[in-house]
C-alpha cells in the first residue's frame, strides 16, 4: 500500500470514529470531547502566535472571553437569532477587540508583548466583574436560548441535545483548526514563521512586519473567539472566572508546552493529554495542584520541547541506533 492510501484509510477511519463517537462513548465522554475540542482550538490559536510568530501572550483569554460574551450577549438580547450568526457575532466581538489592540500590539514583541496582554487581560477580567449590568458579574451570562441549527424549510436540528451539539462543535472547531493549519501552509504561513525567526530579515525581503503580525493577531483572536463562542453555547454560560480569568490565559500556555510548542499539532496533543490527566485526577485525588504542578515540572525538566519534541528526539535516536551507517539522513 502506498503512503497516500494509508493516509486516506486513516482519514476515513478517523472520520468514522468521530461520527460514531457519541453513540460509542455516551453523553459524558461526548461532552468531554467537545471540551477537548474547544481547548484544542484555543491552544492552537494561541500557538499560532507563540509557535509560529514568536509572540507569547499572557492574555489570550481576552479573545476567548470576547467570543463567549459576544455570543452570549447576542443570544440574550436578540430574539430569534439563529445559531451561525450568533457564532459569527462572538467571533466579530473577538475580532473587534483584536482590531482595537492590534495597532499597539504589533509594534512590540517579547516580554513587553506578554506583559501588555497580561495587563489588558486583567483589566477585562476586572471589568467583567465590575460591569454587572452588562456582564452579570461573577454569575456571568447564562440561561440564554441555544438556537437550533436550521436551514429554513429544510431542517432544524435541536442543539440542546448533546450529540447534536457535538456534531456542530466538531464541525466548527474542526473546520477552524483545519483553516489555521492550512494558513500555516500558505505563503503567508511562511512569512509568519519568518517573523518568528528573524523579523528584521523579513522586513529586508520587502514584507511589512507589523502588517503581517496584525493579520496573524487577528487570525489568532478570531479563532480564539470561535473557541470562546462555542464554549459559551456549550456551557450555556459565560462568566468572568470561566472565560477571562488569568488561569484561562494560562491554560493554552500549559497545553502548548505539554504538547510541544514547535509543532502545529502539539497544542492539540497537549489538550488531549491534559484532558486525560484531569479526568483521572478529578476521579482519584483531591491533590489537583500537586498533580498539575508536578506534571509541569517534569515536562520542563525532562521534555522541554513537549511530547512531540520528545517523540522526535526518540525517533532520531532510534534511527541513529538501528539504521545502517549512512542511512541516518532524514527522509526526504
Amino acid at each position: 500500500m502506498t503512503r497516500r492510501a494509508v493516509r486516506w484509510l486513516a482519514g476515513v477511519a478517523a472520520l468514522a470514529v468521530l461520527l460514531a463517537y457519541p453513540s460509542l462513548f455516551g453523553i459524558y465522554f461526548t461532552n468531554s470531547f467537545v471540551t477537548f475540542g474547544i481547548f484544542a482550538l484555543y491552544a492552537v490559536s494561541f500557538n499560532l502566535l507563540l509557535g509560529f510568530t514568536g509572540l507569547l501572550s499572557f492574555g489570550h483569554a481576552m479573545f476567548f472571553g470576547a467570543g463567549g460574551y459576544g455570543t452570549a450577549l447576542a443570544l440574550t438580547h436578540l430574539k430569534g437569532l439563529p445559531l451561525l450568526p450568533a457564532l459569527a457575532l462572538g467571533v466579530a466581538a473577538a475580532l473587534a477587540l483584536g482590531v482595537l489592540l492590534a495597532p499597539l500590539m504589533v509594534r512590540i514583541s517579547g516580554t513587553a508583548f506578554a506583559m501588555l496582554h497580561l495587563a489588558f487581560g486583567q483589566l477585562m477580567y476586572v471589568l467583567a466583574l465590575k460591569l454587572r449590568t452588562i456582564t452579570g458579574g461573577e454569575d456571568g451570562i447564562g440561561g440564554f436560548p441555544i438556537p437550533p441549527f436550521s436551514v429554513p424549510g429544510v431542517l432544524s436540528v435541536d442543539m440542546k441535545t448533546p450529540a447534536n451539539f457535538y456534531y456542530f462543535a466538531v464541525a466548527v472547531l474542526g473546520f477552524s483548526v483545519f483553516a489555521l493549519w492550512f494558513v500555516t501552509k500558505t505563503p503567508f504561513g511562511c512569512v509568519m514563521v519568518g517573523v518568528r525567526d528573524n523579523p528584521n530579515r523579513v522586513a529586508y525581503l520587502g514584507f511589512r512586519v507589523p502588517h503581517t503580525k496584525a493579520v496573524v493577531y487577528l487570525l489568532a483572536a478570531g479563532s480564539a473567539g470561535v473557541a470562546g463562542s462555542v464554549f459559551a453555547m456549550f456551557q450555556n454560560l459565560v462568566s468572568a472566572d470561566g472565560a477571562l480569568h488569568v488561569f484561562v490565559s494560562f491554560a493554552p500556555v500549559q497545553l502548548t508546552m505539554i504538547g510541544g510548542v514547535g509543532s502545529f499539532f502539539g497544542p492539540i496533543l497537549g489538550s488531549a493529554i491534559f484532558g486525560v490527566i484531569s479526568e483521572l485526577t478529578s476521579r482519584y485525588t483531591e491533590r489537583v495542584e500537586l498533580v498539575s504542578g508536578a506534571i509541569l515540572i517534569l515536562v520542563i525538566m525532562y521534555a522541554p520541547l513537549g511530547v512531540i519534541g520528545m517523540w522526535h528526539a526518540a525517533r532520531a535516536r532510534a534511527r541513529a541506533r538501528f539504521a545502517p551507517r549512512g542511512a541516518a539522513e532524514p527522509a526526504r
Binding site: 492550512f182 494558513v183 501552509k185 500558505t186 505563503p187 503567508f188 504561513g189 511562511c190 512569512v191 514563521v193 519568518g194 525567526d197 528573524n198 528584521n200 530579515r201 523579513v202 522586513a203 529586508y204 525581503l205 520587502g206 514584507f207 511589512r208 512586519v209 502588517h211 503581517t212 493579520v215 532524514p330 526526504r332
Partner: protein
Amino acid sequence: MNVLETRDLSHDFDGLQVLSHVELGVRRGERHAIIGPNGAGKTTLFNIVTGTYTPRGGRVLFRGQDVTGAGPHALVRLGMGRSFQITSTFSRLSTFENIRMGILGRRGIRFNLLRRVAAMPDVTREAEEVLRRINLTAERDLPASLLSYGKHRALEISLAMTTDPELVLLDEPTAGMSRDETKTAVELIRRLTEGRTVVIIEHDMDVVFSLADRITVLHHGEILATGAPEEIKANRAVKDAYLGD
C-alpha cells in the same frame, strides 16, 4: 547618474555623534566599498540608508527619489537589498525555505492565505534554481543554522539577492571567513551581483581592492576621501587615519 545619494546626513545616539554631514554618491553599476576603522559609522550609515533608522539630519535619495525615513520593506520594494554583518538568515528554516521566503518577497506574494505554497511550482522551481546557482542543492533541507560558516554566509548574501535588487548593500560579507572561504565568497559575490550596483563594507583590503571600483573612507563619522582604489591607496589622510587609530 547616482543610484544612491546621501545629502548632509547626520546621526547621533543620545548625543554621541556617529555620522556628520555625510555626502555619499553611488553610481549606477559600480562596486562601491566603504572602509574605515571600527566605530567609524559604517554600519550606522547602512542602517540609515536601508531604513532601519531615520537620520537626525539630512536626506537619503534612492534612484533620485527622496526615501528618508522610509521603512526597509518600502526600500526593498523599490529595489534595494541588504546583507548583515552578523549572519541574518532564518536559522530554524531549511536552506530552501530561506530562499523561498525571498522569492515570495520578490513576487510580492505577501498575504496569500488561500493557496498552499507547495502548490506554487513556479516559486519552488525558482528557489531550487537559486540553490543550484549557489551550490547549496545538497543542503536543501538542512536548517540554516546547521550550515557551515561559509555556506551560511553564502546563503545570507544570496538571500539579499533573491528580491532582485538594483542596489545591494553588503555589510562585511567575508568577515570571519578563512582564506579559501573568502575566495569562494568573493567569486559568489561577483557572480551574483552581475549587472547590479553594490555597496560593500569590508575590512579585508584584498577583497576591497579586488572588488571595488570606487572606495569611500569613513572616519569618526565623516567622509575622509572617495575615489578609485589607487587614489585611496595614495591618500595621506587615509593612511594617517588607519595608522593613527
